[in-house]
Amino acid sequence: MPLLSIDDLHVALGGQTVLQGIDLHLDRGEIVTLVGPNGSGKSTLLRTIIGAVRPAGGRLVRQTGLTIGYVPQRLAIDATLPMTVTRFLNLPRRHPLQAIRQALEQAGIPGLGQQQVADLSGGQFQRVLLTRALLDKPDLLLLDEATQGLDHRGTADFYRQIASVRRDLGCAVLMVSHELHVVMRATDRVVCLNRHICCQGTPERVVSSPAYQALFGPDTDDALALYHHDRDRHAPPVDMAAPQPTETSRLEASP
């Protein structure tokens, strides 16, 4: 039995159809990425899965006793609420202090435990949110643009941690992302969403599909090119004396 089965799901917000005919099944150990333009219903789909939005039709079955780890797109903690990182990580379930220390270390933010959450930088807070989601040892991890506010290094670390979490916990990961080229490498399956599922499959298949190209335009070829380029590269020594064109400038130069 899959962790999550969604069949012919229909969601309306304020009388407007936001999602229709969604079929999605998630198994243990899978990493699935949702891509789609703004307003395509990516966040709404995640919010429907956690139960914050009531579907207007269709079926959504979660495996009984499923533990969900959720990292929202945005979370503003009111400055009137005093909250240390450690206390935040203990909400709503308490964890041993040792486990919290270890989790913060794994997230690359050791020693932040006594900081006020309101004083954290965007990137630090994003890692704290992920740490909190992981402490519950989730069966299903839902990430809504979780790398917002992280720099390149931070983003790479983040996806590395997701990969190791999948290995260690065996959980399924469903994430929304805009960073196609980064996500492509970290994901088993891509689901392209635009109120309905336009296409889904392995990253290569989705990117080369006409439906995807119609949504994101031809320049997304570059994302795939970059993906292959990065994957096939055998780390040639870079000549520091002669400035090499960077990947971004190469991207811009291509017609």
Binding site: I50, P72, I77, T80, M83, R87, P92, R93, Q116
Partner: protein
Amino acid sequence: MFDDFMVRAALAGLGVAFAAAPLGCFVIWRRMAYFGDATAHAAILGVALSLLLSTSLFVGVLLVSLLMATLVSLLNGRGYAMDTLLGVMAHSALAFGLVAVSFSSGVRIDLTAYLFGDILAVGKDDLALIGTGALLVTSLVGWRWSALLTATLDADLARASGIDPRREQWVLTLSLAIVVAVALKVVGALLITALLIIPAAAARPFCRTPEAMALLTALIGAASTTGGLQTAYWLDTPTGPTIVSLAAILFALSGLAGLFKRRIVGATSSAGVHP
């Protein structure tokens, strides 16, 4: 010892202060200050109705406060902003209450007793009611504490953890209605909100966790009620307002201390940046 009216008054004040402390924190964290106000105003309608129907005052106030809270929760997000709704409900409840009181002209009602409270007139029955209410509210909030905090942080975060934020909101509303009904005798409808938010606001600058803030709020509330009671006795001033005035003075002192603290912290950290 319950025969001394000052002892009864002090105990009543302490009971309300302790019950109001965690709720006051939530009122501040969720920016619900007007919610407390509206519930308290509605209490006057409750007073009027229970006098007209000659039922228990506590029950009347509790029912009207709950009705108001439920109505506001239901109407919220349907074309009216929260503050508009609360403004409409609070003042119309108050107005209807005052009109209703005038119908019971056969009985002489001292409305000021309900608007400003009369802590010195707390009887043994009142004390038992306040004690029960305070115990009920603190156990309810204590039981739901983690879920309430998570729902206060973010509704979706709570949902993902299997907590229904609307149920937690209901727990909070229910507790608020009980505290208002119980505190009516002590500080009166006009000053209940003050007792909810001022001690919590005064506690904020010194706390690093929500639990610490709830505890310090209870201490500040207790100091305000017992100190206010003494002061009112010495100066021969109205008790409820004196309690709130003392809480306000503590708030001002805390604000100054917080400002001072921040300046010191700011000075040391900027010194660290520019050695």
